[in-house]
Amino acid sequence: MGAIITLSLLAILVLYLGLFKAKNTLLPVSLAGLLGSAVLLLLDWNKAAEPLYSGMILFDRFALVFSVVCILITVLILLLSKDYFDRISGNVAEYFALIIFSLTGAVLVTSFHNMAMLFIGIEIMSVALYILAGIRKKDFGSNEAALKYFLMGAFSTGFLLFGITLLYGASGSFDLAEIRQYVIDNPTGISVMFYVGILLMIVGLAFKVGAAPFHFWTPDVYDGAPILITIFMSTVVKAAAFAGFLRLFSYCFEPLQDFWVPVMLVITIITLFVGNITALVQHSFKRMLAYSSISHAGYMLFGIVAIGASSSGAILLYATAYSLATVIAFGSLILVKRTSGSDDYESFNGLAKRNPRLALTITISMLSLAGIPLTAGFVGKFILFAGVLADYHVLLVVLAVINAAMAIYYYFRVIVAMYFRPAEREVVAYPVNYQVVFVLAAVLILLIGVYPGLITSLI
């Protein structure tokens, strides 16, 4: 709880700093604040978790871990933000504030224990992002991203709310515990409204995690938004959304599996294929990552399809792995784009000659995204597959495997470009903060890949 307060206050403080033109203090202050809130979370690590504020939020282990991960990823992103935002405009403080607000929303989504909190958390997260996506005011891409994200987000919110309402109408409460109770108490006589409510919740949440057929915003928004914001969207927001998704479904709807698992199954398969196949034919690295993020969402959905004790750990691991790799991938794009000015694969040509270390980290992240052993990405896939196979969805895994094989193609295109395609290019500037972040992320990827116990033991 302290974390949420800290974060909100931190955001406001940042706004004030901006007001007093204390630019240089922004980064350290917000980093300190973030780490502080992370610490606050870790403080009640071993506390027996009970719902706070008349059952509004519940900081159990699950919530703690996910929140901490989100916060730490945000730390990495903010580290990258040095001399990134002020290329856009002077209002760096606002950007920071919005990011932190959004993070607050994310934390709420991971820890909600009441539909109201879920709803508000999601909205805080999204509203901040609607804005952040559009901060390049003169850039059409940015504008378009903002507008598309906003319109579709608002639209999906409508369905989410409708769903919540129906659930409320059926169960007569917004409190997860009571809803769960309602489900357990009358296994047969559950009102149809409840089922429709579940379906509409699926719509709303699937939209947030960018699962087909509600994924259409993802590529365009990721593509149009400023890269750093894209990183935030594709890592923190996605992770939080999945946390919320999982929390709701594993806690409340778990007894009704037979009803919604088929739906999720279909959604998962479509998501995998749409994401991968479309990513195959992209020329822009950024857009490829956008599509691949869809397919990764597909993989993470495995955790929900095979809902069970292991899901949370699996999704956590996968989300972490994916986030770390994505930070490197998009971050490197920032650097490369500065010299080449384009998002295409070609701008990576011959990178290995000029910046071997950078190329190596990118390679690691690509291998992790592709799911090669000894990287975090592999372990993530492995555990998710294990979970699904435990439920005997062999076909699903076979399809997933086909997709994994496809994915190799577009991830290796980057490696091919960096190592095998010769190109006359100047050295890409590799600022120290980027080095720190990348090396940290790469090491974590390998560490988790070699010894995943680090993460899985947390939940």
Binding site: E123, V127, I131, N143, E144, L147, L151, F162, G172
Partner: protein, 109 residues
């Protein structure tokens, strides 16, 4: 007041749901058939309102105020969304001199 209340008695719950669903669908239709971003936003507002009404109906039905309280949050959201949305629209308008959502299709494929 009582008169009104009495006149309320006996409207089947389903009809409330039906009604708000219709409004909601109208909102959806609006979103689908208009190209003016503002109108689309308004249609979305329509959807939200139908939800509000439904919540109110439910809370009245089950005699639990939580539903009505929830409506406040939705309203807050609506306000926030409108503010942000209109800001975005204005920003876009500055660049494109149009509110037509179809003019914004540079990002594709």
């Amino acid at each position: 007041m009582d008169g009104i209340i009495n006149s309320m008695q006996g409207v089947p719950l389903n009809h409330y749901i039906l009604f708000s669903t219709i409004i909601f669908s109208i909102g959806v239709i609006g979103v689908l058939i208009r190209r003016n971003a503002i109108i689309i936003m308004m249609s979305i507002e329509l959807m939200l309102n139908s939800v509000n009404l439904l919540l109110a109906a439910f809370s009245a039905y089950s005699g639990d105020p939580a539903g009505q309280v929830f409506v406040f949050f939705i309203m807050a959201l609506a306000a926030a969304e409108v503010a942000v949305g209109l800001a975005i629209i204005v920003m876009v308008y500055r660049n494109t001199r149009s509110l037509d959502i179809n003019t914004l299709n540079r990002l594709k494929w």
